[in-house]
C-alpha cells in the first residue's frame, strides 16, 4: 500500500516536472520559435485549410533558409505545431486552449475561415497570445476590441464595394440598380453590408435582396427575378457553392446583366469548371499574382506563384499568399520588438508598417489591415476557350480593360 503511494507520487512528480518543462520551453526551444495553428485539414474547409497550411509552410521554409529571425543578437528559426480542427469551431477553440495551456505556445497563426477565427480569438485574447491571422475577414472580428488579433487581409465589407463604385462610374456617375443574393453566413452577410454602404454612398437602389440558404444549390428563383427586373449589377456571394451555382444557372437561364460581381471565383476554380460560361464575371480577390508589391523573401507575386507551383504543383490561390504574408509579419514584429515578451511583440505587431509581396500591411486599432485594397479581376477567355483571370481594378494594377457591359447571351 505504502509502496503504491510512493510510486504514485513519484510518477505524478515526474508528470508535473515534464509538463512544466515542456510549457516553459515551448515558445522558444533552442533556436526555434514555435508557433501554433489549428487548421482545417479535414471537414468541409479542408481544401482551403490545406491552401492555408501550404502558405504557412512555404513562408517558414523561406524565412528559415534565408537567415531566420534575429532577436537579441541570436538567430532563430520558425516552427509550427499544427492541429486539425476538423472545420469545427468548437474543436478549434479547444485546440487553441490546448496549444496555449498544454503545448505552451505563446504566438498563434490563424485558422481558415471567419467562423473558426471567431471561435479562436476569445481564447488567444484571454491568454494574451498574439495571433496573426490570414483567413478571417468578417467585419465582426474587428469590432470586438480584440487587442491581440491581427489580420493581414482586408475586411469582408470591402470585398465588392469597388464593383458598385465602378458600375456607378461607368454609368456616368449616375446611381445604378443593384440585385444581390447572399448566403446566410457571417462572411457573405458582411459582404452584403459593404454593398449596402456603397449603395447608400452612391445613391444606388437595391431592387433585389435575396438571402440564400446555407445548403444553397439552386438560385433559379433569384435569377428569374433578375431576368424580369433587369438590374444594372448582380452581386452574388455564397462561397464556392454560390459562385458555381450562379455561373451554371446564369448560363443555363441565359440571364443578361451588364455587370456580375462575385466572391470566391478562384477558390471555386470557375474558369476550369465552367470554361467560357464564366467569362466576364467580376471577382473580388485579396491578392493576384500580377500585383507589383515586393519584399526580400518572395520578391514579387509572379515569383511567389512560380515558386509555389514548383513546390505544391498548383497555382497559389490568395488564401495561400495571405497565409505566407502572416509569417513575414511575425518575423518583422519579432525583430522590431527584439524580444519574445508577448506584450512587446503585440505592440510591435500593432505598429507594423511594411510591404510584402502580398501587399502593404498596416493594422487599424481593430486589427484589420487597412493598407491593402481589394482587387477585382475579370474572367476573360480567348477564342480557343482558355480562360484567365485578369486584374481590372484598381486601375493602378489593371492588366486588362474591364469589359462592360457584359455582351448579351444571344450575341455570344
Amino acid at each position: 500500500m505504502r509502496l503504491n503511494k510512493i510510486i504514485l507520487s513519484f510518477v505524478s512528480a515526474l508528470v508535473i516536472l515534464f509538463s512544466t518543462s515542456v510549457a516553459s520551453f515551448a515558445k522558444v526551444v533552442g533556436d526555434k520559435i514555435i508557433l501554433g495553428a489549428a487548421i482545417s485539414l479535414t471537414g468541409k474547409y479542408s481544401s482551403n485549410g490545406v491552401h492555408t497550411q501550404n502558405g504557412y509552410n512555404m513562408a517558414v521554409d523561406r524565412i528559415n533558409s534565408m537567415g531566420g529571425v534575429k532577436v537579441g543578437g541570436k538567430t532563430y528559426k520558425f516552427d509550427i505545431i499544427y492541429y486539425d480542427d476538423e472545420s469545427n469551431p468548437k474543436r478549434a477553440a479547444q485546440l487553441a486552449e490546448r496549444l496555449i495551456s498544454q503545448d505552451g505556445v505563446e504566438f498563434m497563426l490563424g485558422p481558415y475561415s471567419s467562423g473558426l477565427t471567431k471561435a479562436i480569438a476569445p481564447v488567444t485574447e484571454k491568454y494574451g497570445v498574439p495571433m496573426v491571422e490570414a483567413n478571417g475577414a468578417s467585419r465582426s472580428l474587428f469590432t470586438k476590441g480584440y487587442k491581440y488579433l491581427f489580420a493581414v487581409l482586408a475586411p469582408a465589407n470591402l470585398y465588392l464595394d469597388v464593383a458598385i463604385e465602378t458600375a456607378v462610374e461607368l454609368n456616368g456617375g449616375k446611381p445604378v440598380r443593384i440585385a444581390q443574393a447572399f448566403e446566410q453566413d457571417a462572411f457573405s452577410q458582411d459582404v452584403r453590408l459593404g454593398i449596402l454602404d456603397a449603395a447608400e454612398r452612391t445613391g444606388s437602389k437595391i431592387i433585389i435582396d435575396d438571402k440564400l440558404p446555407k445548403e444553397l444549390n439552386d438560385m433559379a428563383a433569384t435569377l428569374v427575378k433578375v431576368k424580369q427586373m433587369k438590374p444594372d449589377v448582380l452581386v452574388v456571394s455564397g462561397h464556392t457553392k454560390g459562385a458555381l451555382t450562379a455561373i451554371r444557372q446564369i448560363a443555363e437561364m441565359k440571364v443578361d446583366v451588364p455587370m456580375l460581381a462575385m466572391t470566391h471565383c478562384d477558390a471555386a476554380k470557375l474558369s476550369k469548371q465552367h470554361g467560357k460560361n464564366s467569362q466576364y464575371a467580376l471577382c473580388a480577390s485579396q491578392w493576384h499574382k500580377s500585383l507589383t508589391y515586393k519584399d526580400d523573401f518572395f520578391k514579387d507575386g509572379m515569383t511567389y506563384a512560380a515558386d509555389f507551383e514548383k513546390e505544391f504543383g498548383y497555382d497559389p490561390p490568395y488564401q495561400s499568399a495571405e497565409s505566407s504574408a502572416a509569417l513575414l509579419v511575425f518575423k518583422d514584429a519579432f525583430e522590431r520588438a527584439n524580444s519574445f515578451d508577448q506584450k512587446k511583440v503585440r505592440d510591435a505587431l500593432a505598429a507594423t508598417n511594411m510591404q510584402t509581396f502580398y501587399g502593404n500591411i498596416k493594422f487599424a486599432p481593430g486589427g484589420q489591415n487597412v493598407d491593402k485594397p481589394m482587387v477585382l479581376f475579370q474572367v476573360m477567355c480567348d477564342a480557343s476557350g482558355k480562360c484567365e483571370n485578369k486584374v481590372v481594378a484598381p486601375l493602378k494594377w489593371a492588366s486588362a480593360k474591364l469589359i462592360h457591359p457584359i455582351p448579351k447571351w444571344s450575341e455570344r
Partner: protein, 297 residues
C-alpha cells in the same frame, strides 16, 4: 417585392414549371425512402449521402471524358451493390429493432459517408456539365434548362419502370408481401432477408440515379446530403408510405409551393415555409384521425 408574382405574371408560369421539375427529382429520392421505410421500417438518414455518392460517380465519369448523363445508368448499378453492402454490414443488425436504433445506425452511416467522401474526393464543390442548353418559352420570358427537363424525364422513367417491376416481377411481389406482413410472408416461403437486402439495394440505386441527375443540374459536395434526406422525409410524411402517386404529387406540390414561397415571402423563408407546411399537414392529419376515433367510439 412581395407582389412580384402579380407584377410579372410570367413568374407564375416559371415558378410552376421550376417547382414541378424540381419536385419530380425529389419525389424519386423520396420514393426510395418510402419503399424501404415501408418494407423494413427503417428511416434512412444516410439517404442524402447515398444521393451525393451517386453524384460523384457521374462526376468522375465526366472527369474522364464520358458524358455525365451515362451516370444515370452506371450510378444505380454501382449504388445497388453499395446498398447491399451497407445492408449486410449494418442494416440487417437493426432491421427488427425499434425505429430509434435504426435512426442512430443510419445517422452513423451518414457521418461515415460524409467523412469518407470528403477524404476521397476532397471538400471542393463540383459539378458535371451536360452542355444540354436551354429551352425558351413564351417569348423568352420562361426559361427551362434542358438539364432540368432531362432530370425530370429520367426520374419519371425510373419511377414507372419501378412500379411495373414491383407489380410484375417475382421479387417485386415478394417485396410487397413483406411490406404487408413480414411474418406471414416468411411463413409462405419468402426469403425476407433477401427481400430486405434487395429493397435497400433498390433504394440505393434510386439514390444513385438522383445523384447523377443532381450533379448535372446542381452542384455536389460531400456535406450536402442532409437537405436531400430532409426533403424526401417530408415528402414521404406528407404522402404516406407505399403510396407512389402520393409521393409524386407531394414531391411536385412541395416543389411548386417552395418556388412560390420564394417569390412571395422571400428566399430566406423558402425552407422555413416548407417546414411550416409540414407542421400544418401533420396537425391536420392528427385532427382528422382524432375525429375518426371519436366516430368509432
Amino acid at each position: 417585392m412581395d407582389f412580384l408574382v402579380f407584377q410579372y405574371p410570367m413568374i407564375t408560369v416559371q415558378a410552376c414549371l421550376d417547382g414541378i421539375l424540381l419536385g419530380v427529382l425529389f419525389a424519386l429520392i423520396a420514393y426510395g425512402m418510402a419503399l424501404q421505410w415501408g418494407v423494413m421500417n427503417i428511416i434512412n438518414i444516410a439517404q442524402g449521402d447515398l444521393v451525393i455518392l451517386g453524384g460523384y460517380i457521374a462526376y468522375f465519369m465526366y472527369l474522364y471524358g464520358i458524358h455525365p448523363a451515362w451516370g444515370v445508368i452506371v450510378a444505380p448499378v454501382i449504388m445497388y451493390f453499395v446498398g447491399i453492402a451497407i445492408y449486410k454490414l449494418v442494416i440487417n443488425k437493426v432491421v427488427d429493432r425499434d425505429l430509434f436504433i435504426s435512426i442512430l445506425a443510419t445517422f452513423g452511416i451518414s457521418i461515415l459517408f460524409m467523412q469518407l467522401m470528403n477524404f476521397a474526393f476532397g471538400a471542393d464543390v463540383v459539378l458535371a456539365n451536360s452542355g444540354y442548353g436551354t429551352t425558351m418559352l413564351f417569348d423568352n420570358n420562361v426559361v427551362l434548362p434542358n438539364s432540368k427537363i432531362f432530370s425530370a424525364f429520367i426520374s419519371i422513367l425510373f419511377a414507372i419502370c419501378l412500379v411495373i417491376y414491383m407489380k410484375k416481377s417475382k421479387l417485386g411481389r415478394a417485396i410487397r408481401a413483406t411490406a404487408q406482413n413480414a411474418r406471414a410472408a416468411k411463413i409462405l416461403g419468402v426469403d425476407t432477408e433477401k427481400v430486405y437486402a434487395a429493397t435497400f439495394g433498390i433504394n440505393a440505386a434510386l439514390c444513385g440515379v438522383a445523384g447523377a441527375l443532381i450533379s448535372i443540374t446542381f452542384t455536389i459536395h460531400p456535406y450536402m446530403g442532409l437537405p436531400y434526406t430532409i426533403r424526401s422525409f417530408m415528402i414521404v410524411i406528407v404522402a404516406g408510405l407505399g403510396n407512389l402517386p402520393g409521393v409524386a404529387m407531394s414531391g411536385m406540390g412541395l416543389g411548386v409551393f417552395e418556388e412560390f414561397a420564394d417569390y412571395i415571402l422571400g428566399t430566406e423563408f423558402r425552407i422555413g415555409s416548407v417546414f411550416l407546411l409540414l407542421v400544418l399537414i401533420l396537425v391536420y392529419r392528427r385532427f382528422k384521425l382524432s375525429r375518426k376515433r371519436e366516430y368509432l367510439k
